[in-house]
Amino acid sequence: MIPDRIEREIRIAASMERVWTALTEAKHLGTWFGDAGATIDLRPGGAITLTWKGHGTTRARIERVEAPRLFSFRWVRGRDEEPEPDNSTLVEFTLTPDGSGTLLRTVESGIRGLEMAEAELREYARLNDGGWTFELGELTAYLAGMSE
């Protein structure tokens, strides 16, 4: 049935250092996560803000920074709130060498533990409707590039 965690991975033809840069530098973070900029204080306990056009800002708090192998944070989906265990999910990125490239793996966990009020969930679903469409469009473009 519905899992508590989502695990995805991708092979990248770039060194772990470059993948680390793409993951953790504000100018990159603000394009792959959020679409209108980001700020990041890259240290355990440091804050991340993510801005979306028309969707406002959401916040994350960094848990672990072990360059260039591990980066994790808790984030609040769809609302501008300080991340706490009962309103946020944990996102962990792990990087491992893969030949001359990098295997990037992400795990988002704690999905079932979210305790949100009913009205907030409705708003969340409404806000994320547009988000999915945009991000799936990105995925489609990516897959089209792969088949060339």
Partner: protein
Amino acid sequence: MTPRLRPGGQSAPDDALVAMTDPTRWRLLNLVAAHGEETATTLAAQLPVSRPAVARHLSILGRAGLVSGRRSGREVRYHVRPQRLEQAAQWVTQLASEWDARLAAIKRIAESLEDA
């Protein structure tokens, strides 16, 4: 299963989210799915929650379309409505698709970076 781009209309996953993000409701839903034909009394016996609390959660699950009840004598017997559960599962598929898209974007960025 192809992820749906939009959860629109009555198939929006918002009500199903209400069920799956509350731990007690989630356990209730799993118990009903596993055994079928449960009542508030039999469910309360399996959870550290009072019967009135179980009845309240069942009512929320019922409004979300995740379970439906059938009166049998003095009790109501609940079963899962698989269509709505399927929609909740699709929501998780969409979360996974979000990550696929983000990872694809990270890949594009990393592969286009010059060495420092």
